[in-house]
Symmetry: C2
Subunit: 165 residues, 2 copies
DNA sequence: CTCCGAAGTTGGAATTATTCTAAAGTAGAA
DNA sequence: TTCTACTTTAGAATAATTCCAACTTCGGAG
């Protein structure tokens, strides 16, 4: 009766989807893969491999960065997560939310945020209609300067836009 | 009368736009920058810094890869070109075509085509308006099955969508 | 026309994200 | 339990990008 300890079964539907994708592909559900999926499903911060590693290494001291890279690569190949590409900080960010939506990446502070936008749905329809493709996913990333970084840039006018930094 | 040798003035309107962007920012139009702008305007291949360097080093033996990176960085910051982010080969690709368009990637045959679409322009506007970001680049990729591969898939229903490539 | 300071270029070193590799560990079927 | 293929791991290797300090070039002031 008290055996009901921290249930190993996933609550988060996003996490469940990732684990199912691995199962469907006939891959093993190791502790490491479970932990990485759980972390991916738990955050909206679009983490890099290094950030995932940092977040999990206390709980799993033996975890290797290579395993994080391997697992992320596997999930991307399965189409279960998206790689958002370089946001200016030289590292690839990952997003477990594969529903069509816009990602905004700031080239200055390197933060990535989601932008709900109903124009996306319309773009989806038009792309499908005009191309004849069967659309299975999308990755819509905009790069730019967030409002805060724009203000910061204006305060150092001599630096101009073409800074060497 | 015969002094009218190979005119140094740009013919390509795309090239002219890039050079004008540099002028407007009060930056110098050096030979290197002209050459890089000319090359960017001449191709639809979404080149990387290395590819640009390779294409120009015969004509300008003293050209440095660092200069290519500097110039690309400058043009991106000016909003004159777009950085397409990582496309899976670990290098950043650049696109002098900043007209709104999406890339369509087929998960089966791996071809990538451009699709001009006025719905993109609207998305651009809404994203800029709703986010307050200064947009400097975008990578809009749709994944799916091209019409040909859809037909082929119907004949071999077992082929999975999640390709290992 | 000449000189000066700022802007730009250069090559090589430094940095760092990602991939590779070989050895050791583990899940799960028989 | 045993076997085998799949995984993980640590560290070395790779390669794109940035940094740096010296040198060159441009354009304006005198």
């Amino acid at each position: 009766m008290k055996g009901r300890v921290a249930s190993p079964t996933p609550q988060n539907p996003l996490e469940a989807r990732l684990l199912q994708a691995l199962r469907d592909a006939g891959l093993r559900l190791t502790v490491q893969r479970r932990a990485i999926c759980r972390y991916l499903a738990s955050t909206k911060s679009h983490p890099t491999a290094q950030q995932i590693y940092n977040a999990l290494k206390d709980e799993f001291p033996s975890l290797s960065l290579a395993t994080v890279y391997n697992t992320l690569d596997t999930l991307v190949r399965l189409g279960a997560i998206h790689a958002l590409g370089n946001t200016g900080d030289g590292a690839i960010h990952y997003d477990a939310d594969i529903e069509p939506h816009v990602n905004l990446a700031c080239l200055q502070c390197h933060r990535v945020v989601d932008l709900p936008c109903e124009a996306v749905a319309e773009l989806d329809r038009k792309v499908a209609a005009e191309s004849g493709y069967r659309i299975l996913g999308a990755r819509l990333v905009y790069y730019g300067l967030c409002p805060e970084c724009q203000r910061a840039a204006q305060q150092t006018p001599s630096v101009s836009v073409a800074a060497h930094h």
